[in-house]
Structure formats: structure tokens, C-alpha cells
């Protein structure tokens, strides 16, 4: 789990595809490795969020509370990023993310992430793209759940 490895890992994250390697190394240096045991929450819906996580290994489920109970809306794998929404604006976490297996992550602090967005507009565009995708996905999941509830 050295700096070099982390920088390579970041480069594989879609969001950071266009960021200069040296900058990614700096981001890696500012970040830290965090291990979650299976069943542990990376973040909890409604909590304040100060950090984003990139999955290095293992898998995690994204769950939201609905009137009809907790629904799993996505499964995160290696190189996926989670938690960036909450640090884009000061709002509580919109979902709970729970480790399915032991999960190793790279944690990026709020300020470091925001600085990166300022410096690299490409990253901002990527963030927007991923948010839009997630919105579309969430909407369709919601529609499915609704029709399932009706049935």
C-alpha cells in the first residue's frame, strides 16, 4: 500500500482519467488507506460527509431508506468512487454504503477533493457525468421498486 500503488489506482478511476500523474500522486499523498471489515459502514445516510472513498479491493452495497424499507440500489467494486456527492455541497449523506466483504479504500478529504475540482475542470465534468448516470440509475430503480410495490 505505497504511494506509487495508490497513484496508479487513482489513475484507473474513471473520474481521474485526465488528471496528470504527478497531481494524482499528490492526491494520493494527501489521502489515506482505510480498511473496512465486512458489514461495516463506509458512510451512513443522514450523516455529515467530509470524505470520499475509492474502493481498492472488496465490494460494498449502496442502500437507501425508502418508505417500504431499506433498498440496495448499487454494488460498488474496485476503482469505484463513493461519497463524493456529500462533499460537493454541505448536505448529509444520501445513502448508506456497507462493506460486503473486507474492503480496502483510499480516503480523500473534502478540501483535497474540492481543490482537485478547481484545478482540473475535466474532473468536474466527469463528476457531473457520473452524478447524472447515478441519477438515471436511481430513478429507474425507484420506478422498479414502485411497480414492484404496486404488484
Amino acid at each position: 500500500m505505497s504511494l506509487e500503488e495508490d497513484a496508479l489506482l487513482l489513475a484507473k478511476v474513471e473520474l481521474f482519467a485526465n488528471v496528470a500523474p504527478r497531481r494524482l500522486k499528490l492526491l494520493a499523498l494527501a489521502s489515506s488507506r482505510v480498511l473496512f471489515a465486512a458489514g461495516q459502514d463506509l458512510c451512513v445516510e443522514g450523516d455529515e460527509g467530509y470524505e470520499a472513498f475509492i474502493l481498492v479491493s472488496g465490494e460494498a452495497d449502496v442502500k437507501i431508506r425508502t418508505p417500504s424499507g431499506v433498498a440496495t440500489v448499487a454494488r460498488l467494486k474496485r476503482n469505484d468512487i463513493v461519497g463524493e456527492m456529500a462533499i460537493l455541497r454541505d448536505m448529509p449523506r444520501t445513502a448508506t454504503v456497507t462493506a460486503v466483504s473486507d474492503v480496502s479504500t483510499l480516503r480523500i478529504g473534502k478540501q483535497d477533493f474540492l481543490n482537485l475540482l478547481k484545478e482540473f475542470p475535466e474532473v468536474t465534468v466527469e463528476v457531473m457525468r457520473s452524478l447524472a448516470e447515478r441519477l438515471a440509475r436511481t430513478t429507474s430503480e425507484l420506478a422498479n421498486l414502485r411497480s414492484a410495490a404496486k404488484a
Binding site: L3, L26, L29, L42
Partner: protein, 892 residues
């Protein structure tokens, strides 16, 4: 008695010290006869025994030292004692001894009078200072915004100081000096009318001219006082506002402003000196002019035989005693005018109306009656100092047990309701009652205990967090001071003599009853409860865990903490998360520690022993050089530096990240870059000591999990553990007291409480490890009954002046806790938590409302805020807009 300050200094002095002043006058009068008699003796000695007057025959005798009482209204005199019958030698001895006797008696009088005057002056100064501070405590609230605190402090401390010296002199000195001068003058007159008249004429010129010349000095002195006071106000503004001044790059304006003021002061002072020395010159000239007349005129008279030489000598001797008193009298007069002006200047600044009447702040040790009836606003309006309307025509009733939220943006009037109830401002129109009485008529000793007010910027005096918490409970000396610490009778007597109160500062002023606690333990519980309520308990608990054990160690706790360490280790290894902590094992490298911490494997007494601080010639360098460790560390440091310099460049925009890494000081980045260049490819043997040390320091701060440069090989780790043993053996004796090595069976006084109990470090990067460890730690400390001991250590945290060592949100929480601790009947929180995040505020509000609604110790709440976020929690919601109450809704 009117509550104005006396404008006339003399009347002030007379009112407070007439008996003493009269006594001094009497003593001065008593001292006069011997003083006068002492003049005559030299003449008698010279004319009699020395020159032989009256001893024409060898066995002639004379009566010396008769006691004669003259009648001032007639010629007759009564001889009480006709004198000793002595020969020439005997007379010389007797007269000389008499002279010596008079000198001693006069000296004793002088000593007594001066001591008495000094004490009198100091008492009056104490009284005056006390009265001034007393008035400050009774100022109307808006006055505090108008005055500059440092100016008030300067006035009380410096400006009244000369008054103390003068007060003792106010009546006695002029009497004494005038008496002396008159005696000397009278004596000269008796010896020679002509010389006496000349002396008198010059005296009159002197006493008329000099004070005139000094008028200008007085004006300058006044200006000097005002400019100096202004300067101290400005300087304190610069200190208070230093951050903003520097952040706005306006330091040079401040420099020029200060220089400008100093110039003004310089010219005033220079002018002052010019005049002062000119006046001195004239005064001295006039004083020396008289002897000139004596020598010339008296000499002519003596040569012609119109004046005997003994008389002339006596006149000159008497004159020696005249310029002194005269000069001092003139000085006294100048001082009188000066202090009168100063006094007036100071007194006017404190003559503020309306002052709170003294009985509103009377000391109350007994029970204070509870509030009665709701707060009733009838057509209440309020304006700010500029006359702008803040609220108009408010009709409102708030019950004492209601929980109300008042919502409005700043300036909309919501906060005015709180300020009015807290009486921080007074209505400009309308009536504000509590029950059937005017709120304004309640004494402060009732409102200050029954109503709680928390604004957005609570103030704390310098001290510990505990002091700050308890500062709201210091109402009166409830319990006498500990044995042997009470005020001594002398102190009490002096306090009375100076019109100071006789409350004992060392008594226990804490109103335990107000907190609802009757024992020390219950108070501890209350403090814990209140801190938990405002969400501050964790913070102080954490402070407590971070304190070094050497700070305030209580002996018996040590064994308990060792117990806690053993229990912690047991529970940790039993549980599933044993890997959360990497324990301190002396034979193993600890990856959570820096290289330096691994070598020392203990704690240091002071920051000077840390790798960034210890000097280039420290003996520690030699310890590191053993077995070639220095070469390896140099290599590590150099590699780490190379990565950092490569990533951050010579000038870094990412200073925050660099600072967080704590490896290289951002300012020294160029140095490191240069050093890397210098040492590129160089053999270690050829590298300068300075460059070696530069890189070794980086290596010493290196910690693999934090910096992740993959530089700590297994071999290096082994070498470091080996070095650890050598370090322990070879540490020079004079440094032995600066290091305390980790020992499983011993408390480490230089290490934090947390390090002592964990006896290891929480492993970086295990999610939830910190929370799990903290939970376990709390569990164990609670089991051992040490929870409060830890919290208490945290509460010993010095919060700094005004609480500046706490964050704004912590200050706000502490301010709220302070008020809650004294269980007010009605709590006003005026944007008192606006620095906290919403979720925390909600938790605090819920807690407070629960407490408010409880049957025992319940209270009313007025919560003033800008947002509607928590409105749903309250039973009644008031909304304000543009100074008016626009909605008032009560939920069931």
C-alpha cells in the same frame, strides 16, 4: 446620597479623611515649637560659649535653656524654669546637646508625619480605585460598547496614581511647609527687620510669578495625559485586531498612525521639558537672589556695626531653611492644580448615568426569591444607539415555563426580545413587566441567578475550563475560606479604612445549591450532565486523555491508571479487534510511531527534545551515529525529501497538505531542494554535517502508514530497534531527566493519559478503530470510576484569554453549559449556538427542552435563531420581521 462622583478633589479628600487630616494638622502644629527653637540654638552657641559673650571671666556662669512662655497678646511672660546655671564649657555642651535633641525630635516628628501621610494617601488611592471599578460594574450596558477597555484600565491604574501621593499631602503639607516658612521668616524678621522685608518682597515675587509660568505646564500635562490614554487605547486595538490588520495588509497604516501619535506625544513632552527647566531656572535664580542680598546688604550692616555677626550668621542659617519650604510649597501648589485636573478628567469619565443602584447588586448569601408571573410586553418599542427602531409596538406575553422559539434574521427584532428580558437594553417606549412588577425594578442579584442569557460570544476570563464553567456560580461567599486562609484582622481593618468591601476573596464563592448539588460528587455529576447536554463532554474528555500525566498528577490515580492499562490490554486481546492498537513492545518496531519515537521509545519532557527542535550540537546526534544508523537515516531522509520536493516543487500551492504531512516545513522547501542538488551522487562521508542533519531530521519524522513512501525496510526496522537499546544505555546522564522510556509496569509522566492506558497506538487506516478504542477506553475508565477524573483533567485545560484557545463553537457550548449549570428559571439563548452545525444544535435543543420540561428543575426557554430548522421542537413559535411580531403560533 447622590450617585455622582465628587467633582472637587479637596472636598472628596475632606469627606473621606477629615479626622485623619485634622490629626495630621495637630501633629504638625505640635512639631512647630521645637522646630522654631532649633533655629535659635546656633546663634546662642556662637554668640555665647564660642565667642565668649557673657563669659568674660573664666569662672563666669550663665543660665542656659530657660523655659519661658510668652503671652502673644501682651508684653508679660512667665518664666517656668530659669535655666541651668553653667560655665562656658558646660554651656557649650548643654546647648550642643539641646541642639542634637531638637534635631532628633524634629526628625521623629517628620518620620511620624510622613508615614501617616503615606498610609492616608494609599488608603484614599485604594478607595478611589475601588470606587471607579465599582462604578464600571454598575455602568449601563450600552456604555460598555462605547468605552475602550484599555483606557479605563489606564485611568484606574496609572492616571490616579499620582493622586495617592498627593492626598496625604493635601492639607498637612501646606500647613507644615507654611509653618516652616513662616517660622523661618519670623526668625529673620526678629533678627533684622530690613533683611526680613527684603526676603518677604522676593518671596512675594516668587510665589506670584512661578505659578503663572507653570500654568502652561499644567496645560501640557493635561494634553500629555489625554494623548497617552489615547495611545494605550490604540495599542490595545492593534493587539486585539492584529489578525485583521495583517490579513488586510494595513499594518503600515497602523505604523504611520502610531508614529503620528508618538510625534504628538513627543512634541508635547519636549515642550513640557523646555518650560519645566526654564521655570526651574527662574525659581532657582530668585531663591539665590536673597542670599546675595544678605551677603552684600547684611555684610555692609555688619561691617558698619548695625548688625552683629552672630545675628547675620543666624539670619543666613535661618534663610537656609526658607527656600526649601517655599520651593516645596510652590511645587505643592503646582501638584494641586495638576492632580485636580487629572482627578476631574478621570472622574468625569466614570460619571455615567444611570448607574445601577448599589442595592441592585447587594451581596445575597441567602435564598433568592423565584421569579413570579409571565413577561408582559405592552406596546414596547426599542431603538439602537443611532435611534433606529429595532422593534415597535410589541404586545407579547411569555410564560415562565413556556418553551418559545423566536425566529428572525438579524435586525428583524427577534433578538431584541431576548435582550429586553435580559435587560441588556431598556425599552424606549411601552412597559415591560414581570407579573405585576416592572422588570427593570428587579435587582441584579435576582435576575442574575434566575434568568439565564447566552449570546453568540460568551466571555471567559483567563483560566481553566472548569473556572469558566463555575464562573456563573460566583454569587457570594457562601462558605468561609479554609482554615488559616481567612482575611486577617489587619486586612479587614484596612478594607474598612478604605471603604472597600470585606467579602473574603478566598472564601468558597460557588453557589452549589444553585446547581442542585449538595456534595462535591453531585457537582461532578451535574458538570458531566451539563457538558453532555451541550455536546461538549467528548471534547473535554478528549482533552483529558491528551493531558500529560505529569500535569497535576494525583498520586493514587497512578495505580488506577496502570490498572486501566492492564484491563485495556486484556479486553483488547479478548475482543475481535485486537489489531486496532499496536502495543508498545520494547523488542519490536512500532509502525505507528515515527522513526524518532521508535528510537527513543518513550516520551520527552519538552518540545526541545523533538527532532525538529534539538540543536545542531546536541549530543543526541552522536547517539544516532552508532552502528552506521545515521547513514541509513540520511539515505531515508534524502529519498523522502526528493519525493516531496518533486511533488510540491520549490514553491508549493499545496501548503496545507505539506503541513499535514509534518515532514518538511513548507518554508524550508527551497533549502531542501538546494541540499538535494548539493548532495546528488555524493558519498555520505563527503556530505557536510549541516546537510546530513537536514535529511536525518526528515527521516526521524518519518512514519510509514502516514507518509507511505515505502522506505522502511525490514533491515532498517531491525537497526532502529537495536539503536533503541543503545540509546537507553548511552543516553548522557544530564539528559536522563528529559526522557522517560515506555515501561509496561510504569506510568510515563511525559506521555499523554491516552498513551499511558493504551500503551500503544491506534492503528492508522482501520475504519472505526478510533471509535472502538475510545469506547473501550471509556468503558474501562467508567468501571474504574475514573471517568470524572479524566473529564476533570480535561477541564483543567487553560482556555486562554477570552477562551481563545477554544473554537468559537466550543466557546458557545461552554457559555451555554455555564448558564445551564446554575439552573435558571428562564433561559434565553440568543443565537448562542450559531457556530454549530445543525445536527448538533438539534441534539442540544432536544436535550435542553427535555430538561426544561422535567418536573423538578424545569425552566422556560426563549430560543432566538435566524432559521426555522428547529422550530418544530418548540411549543410556541414567534416570527419577527422588520421589527414586528408577524406570527405567534402555539402547538398543542
Amino acid at each position: 446620597m447622590s450617585d455622582r462622583m465628587e467633582q472637587n478633589l479637596f472636598r472628596y479628600i475632606w469627606t473621606h479623611s477629615k479626622r485623619q487630616q485634622v490629626w495630621i494638622l495637630i501633629v504638625v502644629a505640635l512639631s512647630m515649637p521645637t522646630y522654631f527653637l532649633a533655629f535659635d540654638i546656633p546663634k546662642q552657641i556662637v554668640n555665647g560659649p564660642i565667642q565668649g559673650g557673657g563669659f568674660e571671666t573664666p569662672d563666669a556662669t550663665q543660665k542656659v535653656l530657660p523655659v519661658v512662655v510668652g503671652n502673644p497678646f501682651g508684653d508679660q511672660s512667665y518664666t517656668l524654669f530659669s535655666g541651668f546655671d553653667l560655665d562656658r564649657m558646660g554651656a557649650l555642651v548643654a546647648l550642643s546637646l539641646a541642639f542634637l535633641g531638637y534635631v532628633i525630635i524634629n526628625g521623629a516628628f517628620k518620620l511620624y508625619i510622613n508615614t501617616y501621610k503615606g498610609r492616608l494617601g494609599e488608603r484614599m488611592l485604594r478607595r478611589l480605585r475601588y470606587q471607579l471599578v465599582d462604578r464600571v460594574l454598575r455602568f449601563p450596558f450600552p456604555q460598555y460598547r462605547r468605552v475602550r477597555s484599555s483606557e479605563i484600565a489606564t485611568m484606574i491604574k496609572d492616571e490616579v496614581d499620582p493622586l495617592g501621593g498627593f492626598i496625604g499631602e493635601a492639607f498637612a503639607t501646606p500647613a507644615f511647609l507654611a509653618g516652616q516658612a513662616l517660622a523661618a521668616l519670623l526668625f529673620i524678621m526678629l533678627q533684622s527687620w530690613a533683611l526680613g522685608l527684603v526676603t518677604l518682597a522676593i518671596l512675594i515675587v516668587q510665589t506670584l510669578l512661578i505659578p503663572k509660568l507653570r500654568g502652561r505646564l499644567r496645560k501640557l500635562a493635561l494634553q500629555r495625559q489625554l494623548t497617552a490614554r489615547d495611545l494605550s487605547g490604540r495599542v490595545s486595538e492593534i493587539v486585539d485586531g492584529a489578525t485583521d490588520i495583517r490579513l488586510n495588509d494595513s499594518t503600515n497604516f497602523e505604523r504611520s498612525d502610531i508614529s503620528d501619535r508618538l510625534a504628538k506625544i513627543f512634541f508635547i513632552r519636549f515642550d513640557f521639558y523646555q518650560w519645566k527647566f526654564m521655570v526651574k531656572f527662574i525659581n532657582n535664580f530668585l531663591a539665590q537672589f536673597t542670599p546675595f542680598v544678605f551677603y552684600l546688604g547684611g555684610g555692609i550692616l555688619a561691617i558698619r556695626g548695625n548688625l552683629d555677626i552672630g545675628q547675620l550668621v543666624a539670619v543666613i542659617a535661618a534663610y537656609k531653611d526658607l527656600p526649601g519650604p517655599i520651593k516645596e510649597l510652590i511645587d505643592w501648589d503646582y501638584q494641586r492644580l495638576d492632580v485636580q485636573v487629572k482627578y476631574l478628567q478621570v472622574v468625569n469619565a466614570f460619571d455615567v448615568t444611570p448607574l445601577a443602584p448599589p442595592r441592585a447588586q447587594e451581596l445575597q448569601t441567602g435564598k433568592v426569591p423565584p421569579l413570579e408571573g409571565p413577561f408582559i410586553f405592552r406596546q414596547v418599542s426599542a431603538t439602537d444607539e443611532s435611534g433606529k427602531t429595532l422593534i415597535s409596538g410589541l404586545d407579547l406575553e411569555i410564560g415562565l415555563r413556556e418553551d418559545v422559539v423566536a425566529i428572525g434574521a438579524a435586525g428583524d427584532g427577534a433578538e431584541v426580545v431576548g435582550d429586553l428580558i435580559a435587560r441588556l437594553m431598556a425599552p424606549s417606549a411601552g412597559t415591560l413587566n414581570i407579573g405585576s412588577t416592572a422588570l427593570a425594578s428587579l435587582p441584579e442579584w435576582q435576575t442574575g441567578r434566575r434568568i439565564g442569557y447566552v449570546g453568540p460570544e460568551p466571555f471567559f476570563a483567563h483560566g481553566t475550563a472548569r473556572d469558566a464553567l463555575l464562573s456563573g456560580l460566583r454569587h457570594a461567599p457562601f462558605r468561609p475560606p479554609p482554615e488559616g486562609e481567612a482575611m486577617s484582622p489587619l486586612i479587614v481593618r484596612e478594607a474598612m479604612a478604605s471603604g472597600n468591601p470585606q467579602f473574603d476573596r478566598r472564601a468558597d464563592w460557588i453557589d452549589y445549591e444553585a446547581t442542585g448539588a449538595s456534595t462535591e460528587e453531585e457537582l461532578s455529576n451535574r458538570i458531566t450532565q451539563v457538558l453532555a447536554l451541550v455536546n461538549l463532554e467528548e471534547d473535554f474528555y478528549a482533552f483529558g486523555l491528551r493531558t500529560k500525566l505529569s500535569d497535576a498528577t494525583e498520586g493514587d490515580d497512578e495505580e488506577m491508571f496502570l490498572n486501566a492499562r492492564r484491563m485495556f490490554l486484556d479486553r483488547l486481546t479478548e475482543g475481535d479487534n485486537a489489531a486496532d492498537v499496536e502495543p508498545f513492545v520494547v523488542t519490536q518496531f512500532n509502525s505507528q510511531l515515527t522513526v524518532f519515537q521508535n528510537i527513543v521509545f518513550g516520551a520527552v519532557s519538552s518540545p526541545e527534545m523533538l527532532p525538529n527542535e534539538f540543536p545542531a550540537d546536541s549530543p543526541l546526534w552522536r547517539l544516532l551515529a552508532i552502528d552506521g544508523l545515521d547513514r541509513q537515516l540520511y539515505q531515508l531522509g534524502r529519498e523522502a525529501s526528493a519525493v516531496i520536493v518533486d511533488l510540491f516543487g520549490e514553491v508549493s500551492d499545496n501548503i496545507k497538505i505539506l503541513e499535514r504531512l509534518d515532514l518538511i516545513d513548507p518554508n524550508k522547501l527551497p533549502d531542501y531542494s538546494a541540499a538535494l542538488g548539493r548532495t546528488d551522487g555524493a558519498d555520505y562521508a563527503n556530505v557536510t554535517t549541516a546537510d546530513r542533519q537536514k535529511f536525518i531530521r526528515v527521516a526521524l519524522s518519518y512514519c510509514e502508514p502516514r507518509h507511505r513512501l515505502d522506505l522502511l525496510t525490514n533491515e532498517l526496522q531491525d537497526a532502529i530497534v537495536k539503536a533503541r537499546m543503545i540509546f537507553r544505555e548511552k543516553l548522557p546522564p544530564h539528559l536522563a531527566n528529559d526522557f522517560f522510556f515506555h515501561d509496561p509496569d510504569q506510568i510515563n509522566p511525559f506521555a499523554s493519559l491516552q498513551d499511558n492506558i493504551l500503551f500503544g497506538r491506534i492503528v492508522d487506516g482501520r475504519a472505526g478503530a478510533v471509535d472502538r478504542v475510545n469506547a473501550l477506553l471509556r468503558e474501562i475508565l467508567a468501571e474504574l470510576g475514573l471517568s470524572y477524573a479524566v473529564l476533570e483533567r480535561g477541564l483543567k485545560y487553560e482556555i486562554g484569554s477570552g477562551g481563545r484557545r477554544l473554537s468559537l463553537s466550543q466557546r458557545q457550548q461552554l457559555g451555554l453549559a455555564r448558564v445551564l449549570l446554575r439552573r435558571p428559571e428562564f433561559l434565553i439563548v440568543n443565537r448562542g449556538l450559531n457556530a454549530l452545525d445543525n445536527r448538533t444544535v438539534e441534539r442540544v435543543v432536544r436535550g435542553i427542552l427535555d430538561m426544561a420540561k422535567s418536573d423538578a428543575g424545569g425552566f422556560g426557554v426563549l430560543w432566538i435563531t435566524s432559521t426555522e430548522s428547529h422550530a418544530a421542537l418548540f411549543s410556541r413559535v414567534l416570527k419577527f420581521s422588520r421589527g414586528e411580531l408577524v406570527s405567534d403560533e402555539t402547538s398543542k
